[in-house]
Amino acid sequence: MRNFVAIVFDDSRKAYEGLHALWQLDDSADITVHGTGVVHRDGLGHIQVDTKDTHPALGTALGVGIGALLGALAGPAGAAIGAAGGAGIGAATGGTVGLIADLDRADTREEAADETGFVLGAGQSAVIADVSEDWTTPIDRAMRKLGGKIYRRARSDIRDDAWLSPDYPYGYYLYPYEYIPPAYSF
């Protein structure tokens, strides 16, 4: 089954350990990883995407793409919010408050995603992944061992939420290989 998975960790280093563990599961053929990314929420509440330098023409698209995916992981209302990109619309659903559209910059962060506020607390990090898995145990076991909390949505459900287009490229901007910024290299 093709799923989008968000695994929340208390800090970035743990998140990168989680990312590495995810690709190890791929290497051992327990799952197939189609793309991954790491986001974190800073002390001001802004969500930032960890990415390497990229072509200027792709920077904003990257933030908006992952923002849309985070919104989609939050559910139907979140999908609309996330896909709105930098529109700056506020919304609340089921006790989870989204969206502060904001763009931040940091040394290895190109553009920030929209805040959906659904799982990520200040100072926490999340691994976002597009995976094929025949059973959920490999990811669950590996990530819980590292202290991660796992959220899943079927890719087909997310596609059904898409209000822009059923073919909106959720996950398009996830890395199709393991990318760990130098600061988190093992």
């Binding site: 093709r2 998975v5 968000a6 051992s28 053929a29 327990d30 197939t32 990883v33 189609h34 793309g35 390497k52 330098d53 990229t54 072509h55 200027p56 023409a57 792709l58 992981l73 939050a74 559910g75 979140g78 659903t93 089921g94 989870t96 659904f118 799982v119 094929s132 025949d134 059973w135 959920t136 145990t137 990811i139 669950d140 909390k149 796992i150 959220y151 899943r152 949505r153 398009y172 199709p176 290989y177």
Partner: protein, 138 residues
Amino acid sequence: MAQPATTSPKPGAGTEVKDAIDHLRSSAQELHKAISDAAAKRSGATKADIAALTEKAKTVAQSAKASVKAEQGKVAKKLTDAVSHLEATQANLSQSAKATGTAFDTGVKKVLAEARASVQKVSEAVAEKRSAAAGNTK
């Protein structure tokens, strides 16, 4: 809303599949990474970079074509799609080599999009094959 995961039953042991498609996937990933790194260069990708990437794309496309012949069904279909994207990557690289300014930026976006799509398709082929292998061991 996304829900905390629950445990699903194990489909069967011995799901490990390592073969030519896995190696093809690694090559496609390396190609995408190399294109992404070249595109991120502050001074821009050089003609030598583009020429090397075009050659690499050609090699990966040839490997993919060979893999299509060795597979069937959904796996072969995914690999055929990957070949199309790899050929488009090659074509866009060639066009980018001749372009400047906005046309070059547009070309880079197309190259990256096609290269990424090729990795996705090979990756999906790998997933199909692994899933089939897991099913066969039930």
